[in-house]
């Protein structure tokens, strides 16, 4: 069954209150769409342009209030969904993921185990441009890398599009917005920008599903997603964990195990 037919059916039977997917924009663009009536399901599209991680909407109050929703999900959206489940932000029964295959066929993945099984068959591959830039950064000396990020981050305007586009940045009260006390400078000067992006990268270490939506959202083209990717890869190397693979994943950086091989914590 294709996405439009499936969505229509789900909305007609009342199985879901809304289908979160994509619709065509006016300028050859695609954008998130919230289809709440069966008659409007025909506006849904799903093609290679639909890269945005729709899981970012699943923790939002407006969406939670709708009731159970279906989401037309690319693999990165499914990964983010599993991570949100692992972090107890989304319950299994709240979301019906619809995996859309290349031929347009839709598979319902009603429980987390189905999502896990589906994802196990999907290889996670970084985009060629990201791989290249990561390799270039790895090859730099520490001083060169520092200079690279100082220059890049000086262009940040602190619009927080990266944070708001990220499915894992769901805090209702973000450290960046906290002003009593103010932990991080508000201003987009060198220190404020550096602290913001360092804090964000550290918060995402071990939780980032490497969708790259933060970098895609940046209006001035800073590859901020690479900071998160790098931290994620470090966690993977150190702890063998990869976010977005299981709905029951303990967070590597805050989990204590009595049999931890390191002794400093005991």
């Amino acid at each position: 069954m294709d996405l439009i037919t499936k969505s229509r059916e789900l909305l007609e039977t009342g199985a879901v209150k809304a289908v979160i997917g994509f619709e065509a924009g006016r300028r050859g663009t695609v954008r998130p769409a919230f289809v709440r009536e069966a008659a409007k399901a025909s506006t849904l599209v799903f093609d290679e342009r639909c890269t945005q991680n729709l899981a970012a909407y699943l923790t939002r109050r407006e969406v939670k209030r709708m009731g159970r929703v279906a989401v037309a999900a690319a693999p990165d959206t499914l990964r983010a969904l599993l991570q949100l489940m692992a972090e107890r932000q989304v319950k299994e029964e709240e979301v019906l993921p619809l995996a859309v295959a290349a031929d347009g066929t839709v598979t319902e993945l009603p429980c987390a185990a189905d999502v896990e099984a589906h994802l196990a068959l999907q290889a996670k591959e970084l985009k060629a441009a990201d791989r290249e830039l990561l390799a270039k950064l790895d090859a730099m000396s520490r001083e060169e890398r520092w200079a690279y990020w100082q220059k890049e981050l000086s262009r940040c305007v602190k619009c927080y599009a990266c944070r708001n586009a990220c499915p894992m940045c769901y805090c209702a009260h973000c450290t960046m917005d906290c002003n009593r006390p103010q932990w991080v400078p508000v201003a987009s000067h060198a220190l404020g920008n550096l602290e913001y992006h360092m804090v964000r990268a550290m918060h995402l270490a071990g939780r980032c599903v490497e969708c790259g939506d933060c970098g895609r959202a940046c209006p001035v083209g800073i590859p901020v997603h690479l900071l998160a990717f790098h931290c994620q890869e470090s966690v993977h190397a150190q702890f063998g964990q990869r976010a977005g693979t299981s709905a029951k994943l303990d967070y590597a950086l805050s989990t204590f195990r009595p049999d931890d091989k390191e002794t400093f914590i005991r």
Binding site: G25, R26, R27, G28, T29, V30, R31, P32, A33, F34, Q52, A56, Y57, E62, R155, V157, K158, C159, Y160, A161, R163, N164, A165, D177, Q182, P185, V186, A187, S188, H189, G192, D213, R216, A217, P219, V220, G221
Partner: protein
């Protein structure tokens, strides 16, 4: 006045160098590392006039993303409070689009509404604008619907319109004429060439839109339009006319400074009260505020729109909040 001259292509470099010799910083669109942004340039060869728009607007030249406005230090039970002088370097914006130039009018309306803002004005007075008319437009552009145009001279000191072999240079203001006088040989007499700019049909009537917004405050339209909005500030921060700022203190026990930084009505924190109450608690209300501010409150208070139709917000939006489309929907209600 608008005296028209001809600036041959090869004389653009002469012009840039004359401006530099005169001690002015020249900021122009560049395409370094595949990014369209304003950067200081030394020669015309560095300038990219092919790109339609820079991602950020030119407002940073008069309203920086962060500006120190006062400093203080504490000692011996007393407070030493010091004014900070505005940093106003003589600057020429060269090659911005007429919409970006028009944006300064919207900034001026706010920064000189009741109090004359000395930081804004010092920078504004030190700034001259040499815009380049658009010979093409894209689907995000709608300057003609908000009173501007691809060849509009509003806000420019000189408007350059590309023609065969160079540019028609309209010396719009005294400031512009003074710039041209720095290299009189570069600006030749007008050979009577016809000015041809991009054809951008009007998408909506802004007066009708402003009228239509009256009484639509509670319309479900805003919720429908904003459901996908992520609540970031990308649209406001790239906007040539968005002017909201935050005042923040950075201080320790001995000294501190007060900073003015960009802010945006797109975020929940913008209106959050100390009590915890938020008068704009939903993203729909924040999106509505953005539209009303630009298209209803601005005309009411300043007699002009708070939008120049550059389309930067639409291009920057990570979820394609297409302003023109949303305005059309509101205008046709």
């Amino acid at each position: 006045m608008a005296e028209t001259r001809f600036l041959p292509s090869e004389s653009l470099d002469t012009f840039v160098k004359a401006l530099r010799r005169d001690g002015r910083r020249v900021l122009a669109p560049t395409a370094r590392d595949g990014r369209a942004e304003l950067n200081p340039v030394e020669a015309a060869a560095e300038i990219d006039l092919e790109g339609l728009q820079t991602a950020l607007s030119a407002k940073e030249t008069v309203f920086p993303k962060v500006e120190r406005i006062l400093e203080y230090s504490l000692s011996g039970g007393g407070v030493d409070l010091r004014d900070v002088a505005p940093k106003a370097e003589p600057t020429v914006l060269l090659g911005v689009r007429p919409c970006d130039a028009a944006g300064f009018g919207a900034l001026d309306a706010v920064f000189n509404w009741d109090t004359r803002d000395r930081f804004f004005n010092a920078r504004r007075e030190a700034l001259a604008i040499v815009a380049v008319a658009c010979t093409r437009a894209d689907d995000a552009c709608f300057c003609t619907s908000v009173g501007g145009g691809p060849g509009s001279t509003a806000g420019s000191d000189i408007l350059l319109t590309p023609v065969q072999g160079g540019f028609l240079a309209e010396l719009v203001t005294e400031k512009g004429a003074a710039l041209a006088a720095l290299c009189p040989d570069a600006f030749r007499p007008d050979p009577g060439l016809e000015k041809k700019v991009a054809d951008l049909p009007m998408a909506f009537d802004h007066a009708a839109l402003t009228a239509s917004l009256q009484g639509r405050f509670e319309d479900p339209l805003w919720e429908r339009q904003s459901l996908r909005c992520l609540g970031c500030g990308a649209c406001a921060f790239v906007c040539p006319s968005c002017v909201c700022f935050d005042l923040v203190e950075e201080a320790d026990a001995r000294e501190g400074r007060r900073l003015r930084t960009w802010d945006t009505c797109g975020t929940a924190l913008f209106t959050l009260h100390a009590s915890g109450h938020n008068p704009r608690e939903s993203q729909a209300q924040r999106w509505r505020q953005r539209v009303y501010h630009k298209f209803s409150y601005y005309p009411e208070r300043y007699g002009r729109l708070g939008c120049v139709g550059c389309g930067k917000c639409t291009r920057a939006c990570p979820v394609d909040m297409d302003l023109q489309e949303h305005l059309l929907e509101a205008a046709q209600a």
